[in-house]
């Protein structure tokens, strides 16, 4: 009996989509946007030098490189702002607070003992401990760091190389997780200009589950490069 009934299901089951033509334009746009490679910011040395405020190149995770401008330097903190009003607040090159990102860093404790503040006195045996609070509802997470120093690392900007000291920070996230995790340690990098001791680049991942920030102090670099070669490096 069941079979006889089944024979007729056929022509009557219809699954389809309906729509209207006005949406084609937004579809084409969507396709264009989906396939266009987001371009990294890439300013010339002259443009960087002419900028009214200090600039910082920031790549957040897999996103394109964006330029952030130095909004204020106050109370020992550099405050950088992006075109879409996101803020990165740093102490001596260390990100201590963010605002306007997906999961903001609200607070970091014990920043005055951060060894990156004076990389020349780094002792590979000593640890730096601090607590971090996060916007998405996680508060008081213990982070432990140790630092190692490698001299004579060469970085290249505007076609010229700069001799740097690389500080590698080995971090571990020491608070318990409710489920087994295998990703509680990672590392950050800080490059200081060997001659002046200025921080010119860093890669900082604020937690194991955050996307890393790759930050290049492009205005500082522009000031470090010898003036004579400016024309040559400009393309």
């Amino acid at each position: 009996m069941k079979t006889a009934i089944k024979q007729l299901i056929g022509g009557s089951i219809l699954l389809a989509l309906t729509g209207c033509a006005g949406t084609y334009h937004s579809y084409l746009d969507t396709l264009k946007l989906a396939f266009s490679s987001n371009d990294d910011v890439n300013l010339s040395l002259q443009q960087v030098k002419a900028a009214p405020s200090d600039l910082l190149y920031v790549r957040h995770g897999e996103r394109a490189v964006a330029a952030m401008a130095l909004l204020r330097l106050e109370a020992g903190q550099h405050k950088w702002v992006s075109a879409d009003n996101a803020l990165l607040i740093m102490e001596q090159g260390r990100v201590v607070r963010t605002a306007g990102f997906e999961n903001d860093l609200l607070y970091v404790s014990n920043t005055q003992n951060d060894q990156i503040r004076d990389y020349k006195t780094i002792n590979p045996a000593s640890e730096w401990l601090r607590l971090a609070d996060w916007q998405n509802g996680e508060y008081g997470y213990l982070i432990k760091s140790r630092f190692t120093v490698q001299a004579n690392q060469s970085l290249s900007f505007f076609g010229q190389s700069i001799n740097t000291t690389l500080i590698t920070e080995q971090l571990s996230y020491d608070s318990d997780s409710n489920f087994i995790r295998f990703d509680n340690s990672w590392h950050n990098s800080f490059w200081f200009d060997s001659a002046s001791g200025t921080l010119i680049k860093s890669v900082q991942q604020l937690s194991p589950v955050a996307e890393p920030f790759e930050m290049t102090y492009i205005s500082r670099i522009a000031r470090l490069l010898p003036a004579v070669t400016t024309g040559a490096s400009d393309e």
């Binding site: 909004l71 009003n85 803020l87 306007g100 607070y107 008081g140």
Partner: protein, 243 residues
């Protein structure tokens, strides 16, 4: 009652004396503005004095009676529930709650984010003050959490890092009639979250430093009034100025 009257009298005094449009008390220091200032302007003299924990920064209006009305509503409902209950233990619990709530320092919390740095870059976070009197409370990262509601005694306990709120249950002495399955967390930024703390409904919800953990009353299926009491308790806790 007498407390409310003094508050009202103080209010009259302040407004009678001053002709300024906006009065703001920031951590005990008083400022007057003849033009309505924006948030960043008000915060500026204090913003950099300390490393403030902006998530716990709060703005209150001090010239309205909204919070006080809520308190009276809650007290009246608790009285009504106690009068109609033949459970002596529950009556005690309600009396304890009333005593607790009577002690609370209240003001009309303005539901907005207070963050100096964000206010300087995001227009929506830098609104203009309406004419009136305000109190602005800035603090460094608090290191405690307050436990109140259906408890024997209101306590403050050290904040536990990276911990589910269930970790605080050991330090909570619930009263009869308390809901042991969940807590209401009033985060210092004004958000209220419910979190399961029983063996079957743990949710991994954390209290922000400076949060209030409110133990609620069990809501009997047929009596809506306990649910109203719980709602009032949560609403009122938002308007608290914590010690």
């Amino acid at each position: 009652m007498s407390k409310a009257m003094i508050a009202a009298a103080a209010l009259l005094l302040c407004c009678g004396v001053s002709h300024a449009e906006v009065n703001v008390d920031i951590n005990g220091q008083r400022y007057s503005y003849t033009d309505n200032p924006r948030l960043a302007e008000v915060l500026k003299p204090h913003a950099l004095q300390q490393n403030w924990y902006w998530s716990a920064a709060a703005l209150y209006r001090t010239d309205t009676q909204r919070a006080e009305k809520l308190r009276q509503q809650l007290l009246a409902l608790a009285t009504e529930l106690a009068q109609q209950s033949d459970d002596a233990q529950l009556r005690d619990s309600l009396a304890l709650l009333q005593a607790q709530v009577n002690q609370w320092q209240l003001a009309d919390r303005v539901n907005m984010r207070v963050d100096y740095d964000a206010a300087t870059v995001v227009p929506a976070l830098n609104p203009r003050f309406d004419t009136g009197s305000y109190r602005l409370v800035l603090q460094r990262r608090p290191n405690t959490v307050f436990v109140g509601g259906a408890v024997r005694r209101e306590v403050s306990v050290p904040h536990l890092g990276a911990s589910d709120v269930a970790a605080y249950t050991a330090s909570i002495k619930m009263t009869p009639g308390a809901d042991s399955e969940q807590l209401a967390i009033v985060q210092p930024d004004g958000r209220v979250i419910k979190a399961g703390i029983s063996y079957f409904n743990r949710s991994n919800t954390e209290a922000m430093p400076g949060a209030q953990l409110l133990v609620l009353f069990t809501e009997p299926m047929l009596d809506q009034r306990f649910s109203t009491l719980n709602t009032l308790l949560q609403q009122l806790a938002v308007h608290r100025i914590l010690p």
